[in-house]
Symmetry: C2
Subunit: 257 residues, 2 copies
């Protein structure tokens, strides 16, 4: 598998203490949390994802309505699945972090109902939908792994619904940061309590259903309260307990049993 990682992307998103060699290592780290991802599955994934793409911030990996001809695994960088509303609002409905595979359902149906856009410079491994389906149908534990990952994703979607419906802006932002931190940790991307957050405040706002202005005020308040520092695209959680309490965060949904 020939695989160019542009130096800029590697610098931004890969852990710096011990640079990752295997571009799929984040995916494997997450998949291993389920109990079905064995050595055979690792080989399958490594064999399947033999392509690679590089996408700059603001560019689409997939556009709404696209015939979707590839399935991706993010190796570095972040992306967002979003929908545009008639009145001009944008809602981020899913945050895609290193190690995430999408859109898995292209296996059986290729239309994209919403777009996926790079939030910073991304590198993604690719495979064809048909190849993935064949692999799934051919290996029971790989099937179970994908079901497990799907279940996890649905848990994340439901948690977002609960947040948007019940929490105020302060708690919503806090909750999203808690989730990001936990997910990055599962992918092995948190070091010394610091991690990269390549989101603009506008991105953060669009994920939480608030305006950019209010996202800013909320972040300042979180900082004044000694819970969280988020500057220059790097985050540091000052008081993990306090932040989780403010958010009502319980990470169980990120590692379902």
């Amino acid at each position: 598998m020939q695989f160019e990682v542009p130096p800029s992307a590697a610098r931004i998103s890969l852990p710096r203490a011990e640079p990752t060699v295997d571009p799929l290592s984040c995916f494997k780290a997450k998949a291993r949390l389920g109990e079905f991802f064995d050595g055979e599955c690792e080989e399958i994934v490594a064999r399947l994802f033999d392509g690679a793409v590089h996408v700059a911030r603001g560019e689409h990996l997939l556009r709404e309505g696209d015939e979707c001809s590839a399935i991706f695994v993010l190796c570095s960088g972040w992306a967002a699945r979003y929908v545009h509303l008639a009145e001009g609002g944008r809602q981020i409905v899913e945050l895609l972090l290193p190690g995430d595979m999408f859109p898995v359902h292209a296996m059986i149906a290729s239309d994209m109902d919403d777009g996926i856009m790079a939030l910073n410079s991304c590198v993604a491994a690719t495979c064809s939908p048909a190849a993935l389906e064949a692999a799934v149908l051919g290996n029971t534990n790989f099937t179970r792994t994908l079901w497990w990952l799907t279940r996890r994703e649905k848990g994340i979607l439901r948690a977002w619904i609960a947040n948007l419906g019940q929490l105020n802006a302060y708690a919503r932002v806090a909750h999203l940061i808690c989730e990001i931190s936990a997910r990055l940790a599962q992918a092995g991307l948190v070091h010394d309590g610091h991690f990269e957050v390549p989101l603009t405040q506008e991105d953060l706002a669009d994920a939480n259903g608030v305006t950019g202005v209010h996202a800013n005020r909320t972040l300042r308040q979180l900082s004044r309260d000694g819970l969280l520092e988020l500057r220059h695209k790097r985050a540091r959680i000052m008081d993990e307990d306090g932040l989780q309490r403010a958010a009502g965060f319980d990470g169980a949904y990120l590692n379902p049993g």
Copy 2:
């Protein structure tokens, strides 16, 4: 398959013009919208779901934390997957209508991360997780059908996120009614533009992330605007075009290609 449908549930939720004989007919109607649900799949489902339960309004089908020992298909009645927040709020994260199968992921992992409660008198067919998994692994088109249904569910979850994040209460309520109407139509439960909505205004509020009081005001406004009548647990859409416009509704996500 011996199968008692209590008369009360049948009266409330089954179409009255032509009472449904097959308790799984709603499920089959939905599953056939995907392109993989063939005659063999129908037989598999009929064979698998050989149990039945009856649950009264307010009772749980599954409790948060339950070891989940059965998978359900709602034959009549509605249920809701919800989460309780620390401060006492309740958010409905998924509305389960006749024909819906849940929790599919009990196939591979049996812990429930949130509860499922009957919204009115429900009848559900049941099968064991192990039996469902065996059937999935044994039939390719059945596998694809479940993936298709899962994709549809994720589309519904994402649409809820977009609504909660970007729309005001008026549009949110309108959107949920549009979605309910479309889903019931797919299950064959809309007759002459009328359909049963066994939700209290409080239920509707908890699904839309507003208070009961405000859900009431919104419904009155929708009625004054000539878009929707919702009284005595029955809904009638007066102006479908107007309602969809107010909601920014596009039903494509309910029948993904």
